[in-house]
């Protein structure tokens, strides 16, 4: 595995309003290894995704997409590298003023390389993949939470990225919605996409990822497989996993 097949951050520090979110944080996402970042709410999980995408500027340290260090570069300089990554935001982040079809085809319209017909074909294909092809002409306000997330996945897929980031993809969904999203993630992985998910939902995490990172108070407390995590003796990790151990309930 070469560095051009990975996204990583080295010795990264990030703080907001005097509060340290990440401190000397190292993280490595290799192509083909699906990973989940776990941690309680406010641990800085979403911040990691935004730093990896260059949406936030760290206080110190570096972020690499492939071989390119994007820290300190203007967005226009790493736009091509970032096109290898797509993200599904927590609330979907669909553009309110556009229909579902326009949302999914947004990047393709922006790039202007394809004809209207070609874009329409890709949009239909992606919507069909996530199972919401009937919503083509609806606006985001007319969709349910689960549909919004599926449309957001379709939008992420439109530009055929190598990596897809998921920010709390199952939060607020009913069990069937969670099952559908997990299935979609597994299908994407089968198609060769590498997924990075941040969540505190252990069921989804263990169903879709091979490696896990646990964040606690600006530091990485654990990195490893599901088995290693369950066997971890770190008190914070044990405490995080405890609610899944039904024998602990009285």
């Amino acid at each position: 595995m070469t560095t051009s097949d990975s996204i990583r951050m080295e010795k990264l520090c990030y703080s907001v309003g005097g509060r340290t979110i990440l401190e000397d944080f190292d993280f490595h996402l290799e192509r083909g290894v699906n990973r989940t970042i776990l941690g309680v709410s406010g641990a800085g999980k979403t911040t990691i995704l935004k730093l990896l995408l260059g949406l936030l500027e760290p206080d110190s340290g570096s972020v690499y997409i492939g071989d390119l260090c994007i820290t300190g570069l203007p967005e226009s300089r790493f736009m091509n590298q970032r096109k290898r990554i797509a993200i599904v935001f927590q609330g979907g982040a669909l553009f309110d003023s556009m229909t579902v079809g326009e949302n999914v085809g947004y990047r393709l319209f922006e790039e202007g390389c394809l004809s209207q017909n070609e874009i329409s074909t890709i949009v239909s294909e992606k919507l069909s993949f996530v199972g919401v092809e009937a919503a083509l002409d609806l606006y985001p306000a007319e969709l349910s939470g689960g549909m919004k997330k599926r449309v957001a996945i379709a939008r992420a897929l439109a530009a055929d990225p190598d990596y897809i980031f998921f920010d709390e993809p199952t939060t607020g969904l009913d069990p069937i919605g969670v099952y559908n999203i997990c299935n979609l993630m597994l299908r994407l992985q089968a198609e060769g996409k590498t997924t990075l998910m941040v969540t505190h939902d252990l069921v989804t995490a263990f169903a879709t990822s091979q490696r896990f990172t646990f964040l606690h108070q600006a530091n990485m407390l654990f990195e490893g497989t599901e088995e290693e995590m369950k066997a971890s003796s770190t008190p914070e990790v044990r405490e995080f996993l405890q609610p899944t151990d039904r024998s602990l309930f009285i």
Binding site: K50, L55, I85, F89, A93, D96, E110
Partner: protein, 257 residues
Amino acid sequence: MNPAVFDKILLTFFHELQNYFLLAGRAVMRAFHRPFYYREFAVQFDKLGFSSLFICILTGLFSGMVMALQSLIQLKPFAATSYVGGMVAVTMIKELGPVLASLMVAGRVGSAITAELGTMVVTEQVDAMRVEGTDIIKRLVVPRLKAMLLALPLLTVVTDAISILGGYIMSAGYSINPIMYISGLPQFMVFQDLIEGIVKPAVFGAIIAITGCYVGLNTKGGAEGVGAAAKQAVVLSSVMILISDFFIAKIFVVFRG
């Protein structure tokens, strides 16, 4: 006040000022580069400009009427009511038309721009656009800036024209000869005043657009943050309009000699 606190306030102020002018500079530079987002420009021109027409007509009509009324009362003892048309025209075209129309539009449009962009920020739509490869200044700021640069001078011309009509209606009510009112319109004005009456709203339009976008794109928090940002944008752009009005007027006075 503790010097450290004062230092911090000053530092924050200059930092914000620098970022404000940085956004304005970038928007101006990118206004000349592709893609031009014509559709977005048309949508914004309609939303920000055309839909403010009614409020500008109302503002112009009543401010013209009140200007004529006050002038008539003041001029009558001197038997100088023939100057009322000229007074209304010069006051409205040079000063009140641009300022009143801009303040009205700042209240209506400035808050709308900020609320729209602020909502996009807090719902991560702006981040999503950036990830999709969009230059948000070109996509979100430039069309609004262009729309306001074009719309506000046009709205001001309408406001000026309606205010002169309002003055005419009021003067007719006070038995002023219509011919006298109309022929008196240009008597206090020179061509430079018309230029001033167009330059001012163009500058104010840019202030409203840039302030709305700047505050909107820096919105933090949820719905409460959006509300606070909208309020801040209106206050900030109104104050900036009044301050810049003085300096533009001063510049024109200097050039007039």
